[in-house]
Amino acid sequence: MAEYIDHELVHKRLPRRIALNKTVRGLFLASTLSGLIVLAVLLFDVIRDSWGWLDWQFLTSVTSFSPEQAGIIGAISGTLWLMMIVGPLTMILGVATAVYLEEYVKEGRVRTFFETNISNLAGVPSIVFGLLGLTVFVRMLGMGSVVLAGGLTMSLLVLPIVIVASQEALRAVPSYLREASFGMGATRWQAIRTVVLPAALPNILTGMILAMSRAIGETAPLIAIGIPALLIPLPGSLFDSFTVLPVQIYYWTIDAALTAEYAYMAAATIVVLLVIMFLLNATAIFIRNKFQQRF
């Protein structure tokens, strides 16, 4: 047999090949780090700006023109009110839609039609949802810029996320579990309720939480429906005015041109918002790891 490989040549070239490998590895590492570094700089910057401002008084006071007395309890409670609408509403609508598409509709044109449009919905910019909310909920239905209008708008925005996450969760349930259930004479709904949904629940919840953290951070649609940021009483019902953390950040940042302290208060609010989002994401990871079943 002829020798195809010139071992001497291989030996000569090998150092260059190894060096190239190392270089490429370094480039990939640098790319990975660039994201982390930006995050670190951002965190450092907001924490430094917020230093001295983020205290108990700040968390528990209502907004005020005087920076020393202002706080974000209004925005925090508004965010909680928003979540109380977005959570249950998207859970019910999103999971029901996913169950219908995954478990009831046969694969084919109808399903493709629904799924394509849900993907389209997921790609619509959030400001457009804000305008939709302004037109339909605030004006047409005459709600005004209240908790309910904001909650419905935000629910529409994150609904596709919940649907897609729930669909994936349902798809991950192995078919032999369904077969076992059907094999004993269960109806489709019985199989879904007793076997499929329990098995899919951890992943559905993970998707829910990620959708919630998206909804908490969204600003544009709420600004579009015209929610205020200053000097309003705490919301006490679905039909009260409200504001949320990112909107508060937005207005304070704009007004920093007038009152320098507002910049520090915006930074302090950013820290609060980030902490909430990190906690939510950590919960999602915890649920995923803890309840993920081995099939």
């Binding site: 046969k106 579990l177 076992a180 259930s181 094999g183 004479g185 007793t194 329990p198």
Partner: protein, 273 residues
């Protein structure tokens, strides 16, 4: 042991009984054709399952034997590509009739799958699952059913102290017998078994085989198997499938001693497959 004796006591040959009225036929298949999309998997299958007998379905991979028994409880139709012609009747009723809901069929016709498929629930909840979906709520009654079913599947002694543990903690062989218990809990008339021992070790396989012989006293059983010794050991009748057709179906003794068709002989003597 009793079941073995019973088998001996039965008349060995009952020629041409297919033409008699369907008195003791639990399942009767006539001219069954089945397609997966454009590919035909079953060709004009005629077969019968008799009351309280074990029918073994043998044949090489891809011959349609699994497809056939999954057609009997309409599980095969979960694949939307499947098309069926011909007639399958369960105790005289067309299983595709509108008046015969598939849920009812599957309540009477239990199935044990190739791979043990317990639910990610406790041993107790696995067995109580069937009775619960059929509306039994009484806790005492459920406990009785669970014990009886687990005893029926010869696994009670192994699991009676761990009823509340997750079924995934059981060994593969135990899981499969648990699945059989789960199937018994619905009080089926027929049990379909789709290669129930192919994922098990030899020892667990023997246990399941012993169990099948015992269950025959109460249930009509159809079992798909790759293992010809198994078919010979546990069945009364054997149907040999090849390329989607039934080549031969007869008493197991006859199939394994003097098969009528040359292809059956070639297969059981290991010349192909």
């Amino acid at each position: 042991m009793t079941s073995l004796l019973k088998k001996e006591a039965q008349p060995k040959n009952r020629p041409e009984e297919e033409h008699e009225p369907a008195k003791e036929a639990v399942f009767r298949t006539e001219g069954l054709n089945l397609w997966y999309g454009k590919k035909q998997a079953l060709f004009s299958v005629d077969l019968e399952q008799k009351e309280k007998e074990v029918t073994a379905v043998i044949g090489p991979s891809g011959c349609g034997k699994s497809t056939y028994i999954k057609a009997l409880n309409r599980m095969v139709e979960m694949n939307p590509e499947v098309k069926i012609t011909g007639r399958i009747s369960y105790r005289g009723e067309d299983i595709h009739s509108r008046r015969f809901p598939v849920e009812e069929l599957r309540t009477r016709v239990g199935m044990v799958f190739q791979k043990p498929n317990p639910f990610p629930k406790s041993v107790f909840e696995n067995v109580a699952y069937g009775p619960k979906i059929h509306g039994i709520r009484d806790k005492k009654l459920l406990e009785e059913i669970v014990e009886e079913s687990l005893r029926g599947a010869a696994i009670w002694d192994e699991v009676k102290d761990r009823l509340q543990e997750n079924a995934f903690g059981l060994s593969g062989g135990q899981q499969q017998r648990l699945c059989i218990a789960r199937c018994l809990a619905v009080e089926p008339d027929v049990i379909l078994m789709d290669e129930p021992t192919s994922a098990l070790d030899p020892k667990s396989t023997l246990k399941v085989e012993d169990l099948v012989r015992e269950l025959k006293d109460k249930y009509s059983i159809m079992i798909v198997t790759h293992n010809m010794q198994q078919a010979a050991r546990i069945s009364d009748r054997t149907a040999f499938f090849l390329n989607g057709e039934v080549v031969e179906c007869d008493n197991t003794d006859k199939i394994f001693s003097t098969p009528a068709d040359k292809r059956t002989e070639d297969y059981i003597t290991g010349r192909f497959g």
